[in-house]
Structure formats: C-alpha cells, structure tokens
Subunit: 307 residues, 2 copies
C-alpha cells in the first residue's frame, strides 16, 4: 500500500518555485530571442530593431492600499512596466490596461488611478491603446507594455563578466514607507544614455531588492559579486538590510567593464547620479557583502515573495 500523495499548494511551492514551474511548462520560444527570464521579452521586429513586451499585475493589499493616493497607484502600475523596458535599453511605446474592481469602489478612486496612468503615459511617450474591466473582490491592475530597442543597444541580464564594476542609479531601501514606490521615476533617460555611450554588459531594474535582482544578473551571467557595505547608497532612514532586500526601488542595476567604468565615473556622472557598489567576481563566490565589521559574508536574495 502506498501513502496517498500530499496535495501540493502554491504556498508550498513559493513564488520562485511557481515561476520556475510555469517557465518549464511553457517551454522555450523559437521566434522570440528572450521569453520568460529577463526584464522583458525580446522579439524580432525589423533589421535594426527588437520589440520588447512585458507585463505586471498589481493588487490592493500587496502593492497598494486605498489609503494611498490613487494617482500614485496609477503611476506605479504603468511605471513599473516602463522600468522593465528601460532595463533592456528600450523606449516604451504602447500599453493595455486591465482593471478589476469591486462594484462598491468609488468612481473617484478609479478616476484617480487612470489620471496617474495617463499622466505617466504622457510623460514617457506611452499610448494607452486598450484594456479590459471586470468586477473583482479587490482592486487589481494589470498593465502590459510594448517597447522598442535598437539591436545594438539591447542589454540582457546575462552579459556580466569577471572584473566588471557594479553600479546603481540611486539610493535603495524604504521605498514603501518613504512613498517612493508611488512616485519613482523609471530610469528611461539614464538607460538610454548608458546603452548609447557605455553599453553596460548587464542591466536589470531593482524591483525585488538589490540582493535578489543582483542575484538574477549573477545567475544569468554565471558569475559572482562582491558588494561593499559602505558603497551601497541608502534612502534616508534605510538600514543596510533594507537597502539589500526591500523591493520596489526601481533603480537600474548595471555592470561595466573596468575601463568603461572609469570613463563613466569621470564623465558620465555629470548626466545623472550613480553609485559604484562593488565588482563582479568568479561564479564560485556567489554574492558576497564586505562589511567593515565582519569582512566578507554571503548574502541571499530574500526580497518579497508572494507565495
């Protein structure tokens, strides 16, 4: 007699377990150059360009609450997708927006959300070209966004090499309590400057937390990294732990070969702030944090997980 198998639920699997499971189930793409596993999909478009395609679902109670300003929520729903396009080196273009909301939801709140979406769309040259509306128990906003990138400008997570320097475009941590997650500026301009002038070897936007997202670059590039406690820029009031693990900073995290890093630091800093936080090392080291107190220690990505 064999024991009855235990029924596996999503909480047992965990968020990254679920994503891995879906990824394996969906399988490889044949026409798309990148499917699941980078900031956006990368799809052949013309002899010089790729189409980028990404989506994000936001939910009341996790990504926002009704006590937050509705326009900020609308901004966030679109801007977190724009940030993904930026992280590929691309320009955002067209969005479709799905809204789920309870029948008891005040029109004014929904109006505020769409005001935020419209204003951010206008600011970043995005056209809202469609959508869907359904009744839900809680407010759900799903945005899918396309973009374009020159073939010679696309940046993946997988190109970091030993010796590269690691940079972020702004201070990290405390995004939620500071309100940054509702009014962050997706780094399209900075990414455009970077891909055109310095061509980073790898780039990602920090949505899951520095440690987790650097972890994505490291695993995709098959390298390790050492980051320095005293170089990691922190948002006002943020602890080191928060700077490492809080999500929703939406800053760019990128790597540059040593020679380019030097040139970037000496001239690139004029265009926007950026912070060198460490260096890419051999795969075997994993992700190491150097602190004055205890030297090197291994860091694990443990940003917010849904399940």
């Amino acid at each position: 007699m064999s024991a009855r198998p235990v029924k596996m639920i999503l909480s047992d699997l965990g968020e990254f377990g679920l994503i891995g499971f879906i990824d394996r189930k969906i399988g490889k793409c044949s026409r798309a150059l990148k499917g699941i596993g980078d900031d956006t999909a990368v799809i052949p478009l013309s002899s010089r360009k790729y189409l980028l395609f990404t989506t994000d679902m936001l939910r009341e109670g996790i990504h926002f609450t009704r006590k937050m300003p509705a326009q900020g929520i609308g901004h966030k729903a679109l801007a977190c997708n724009i940030s993904d396009i930026a992280a590929m080196g691309g320009i955002p273009q067209y969005a479709v927006v799905s809204l789920g909301a309870p029948g008891t939801c005040p029109q004014r709140f929904i109006s505020g959300i769409y005001d935020g979406i419209r204003q951010t769309a206008k600011k970043f040259g995005v056209e809202i070209v469609g959508g869907d509306t359904i009744k839900c128990k809680e407010i759900i906003i799903n945005v899918a966004l396309t973009g374009e990138v020159g073939k010679k400008h696309v940046i993946y997570r997988s190109g970091a090499r030993c010796g590269d320097h690691i940079f972020v475009t702004g201070p990290l941590g405390n995004s939620l309590s500071s309100g940054w997650h509702l009014n962050f500026v997706p780094r399209v301009k900075e990414a455009q400057y970077l891909v055109k002038k310095f061509r980073p070897t790898a780039m990602i936007d920090i949505s899951d937390g520095l440690a987790a997202d650097l972890g994505h670059i490291l695993s995709e590039s098959r390298v390790g990294a050492v980051i320095e406690e005293d170089l990691i820029p922190r948002r006002k009031g943020a602890s080191l732990k928060q700077a490492l693990h809080d999500g929703e900073d939406f800053e760019l995290l990128f790597t540059l070969p040593a020679a380019k890093a030097k040139a970037f630091e000496s001239c690139g800093g004029k265009n926007f702030k950026s912070y060198r936080i460490g260096q890419v090392v051999d795969d075997e080291f994993g992700l190491q944090l150097r602190t004055e107190e205890s030297g090197l220690k291994t860091v694990k990505g443990k940003g917010y997980t849904h399940f």
Copy 2:
C-alpha cells in the same frame, strides 16, 4: 446650502459607463490608428503591416469556476484574445500571461491552466514570452496578446454600409451550459479566408452576445440592421433570447456587400459553415428583429455586464 454630493460607485456607473469614462479619460491616440473601441488596438508596424494588441482579464466566479476543467480555463484565457486578433483579420503572435491565485490553490489546478494555455498557444502559433504571478483572493488570469495584420486586410467595426448582408460563423447561445466557452475554436482560419477572398466591410467577435456586439458594429458604422429570427443559428437547446444575448460564443460576426455576399454564399460556404442572419439598414432603424409572430421589433444589447 447645497446638498452633499452622493458618492458615485462603479455599480452606479455600470460596465459600459465605466468603459466610456475610462475611454474619455485616456483620450485619443496619436500614433496608434485604433485604441480603445475595436477588438484590438491597431499600431503602425511597417510599410505593409500593422501590429495588433489586445488584453482580457478572466476571474474565478465570473468567467470560470474551479469545478470546470483547468485546461479549458487556460484555453479560454488565451483563445478569447486570439478571437479578438482574428476579428481584425490578423494572425496572433506573442502573449504575456499574468496569474493571480490564492496560496491555498492546488498546484495541479494551476498546472492544468498552463497546459491549456500552452496547447492553444502551440495550435495557433502563439509564443508565451513573459508573465507575472501574484497572490490573490481568487484566481485571476490576464492575457495580453500581440498580432499582425496586412494593411490591406485589416477590418474594423466601422465599415458596415446600408444593404450589406450580415453573417455569423456558427450557432449562438448556451455557450456556458454547453461548455463551448471552454473549448471554442477562435476563428483565425475563417477570418483569414474572409479578409483575403471577400474583404468584409465590418467584423467583430461575439463575446458580449449577438445583439450587443452587432450593436457595436452598428454604432461604429452609424447604421441600423434587421435580423431574422428564423435565420439566427442557435446552439442545441438555446432559446432565441439566449442566441441574442448570451455572451462568449466567440463566433465572427461580419458584413459583406450584397454582390460579395452572393458570391460568398455560393462558393465560400465550402470552406466553413456560415449563416446569413440579416441585412444592414439605415441608422434610424437601430437594431430590429423580424419574427414571424410579431413582425419587426427593436432589440437592445443586454449581454453580461460586470458592474
């Protein structure tokens, strides 16, 4: 003293009120040829082609329940978007899938949903290139899908003219109770044949019900229509009312000028079944149903509304 204004909620506004409100808020597109208001958005792509872009959000308790086969639910989530691309005369290409689900949801059920998505994607040449997963109180599936259409093949809702004949590609009504809504075949092949051989003047897929979706063609084309009770094909067991107002048939509804309609009926019928159900008339008539019993009477679109 003025009375305090009553706080408007979404249920007061109604689904079409909400859509109209969002539409006005978002405003007109400048680059996209069609934004909100057709089956998909239509976006310039190359000298010969348009990019199509659409999205649909499905929710447990409205569009499906956990008692239904999970693969059918996955099929439906993708296929209702494919049906929108078909209705523009296009070929579906790339999809991103967002999933919201409770932590207590069995992995097996989610696995079945993605099996359904994958199989339908494969059948229709769609690549799943990205997605998102979040924890929700109920299962929510949002699919956004791109497609392509030749500029000379794109069909809008707005081209129907007086005297055109009206056709549907299959029997209507009872989609939910018959299970059709979980295993319908999106009419890509039929639409391709139509746009290449007969070029319909207007086309839409029936998702809100015949009366409501014909209503969309009529209002966009600024015409009226007379449909004939005894010509409307009904699914087994469906009443006239169900054939007129049930949603989720996902058949194509299209109009052809009289001469082409004759040619289509005499030769086109060999490739797939289709049913002539009436004729386009002057705007002032609205949508009229001719029954043997009571002659002409006005029909109102009253398909399923969310709010």
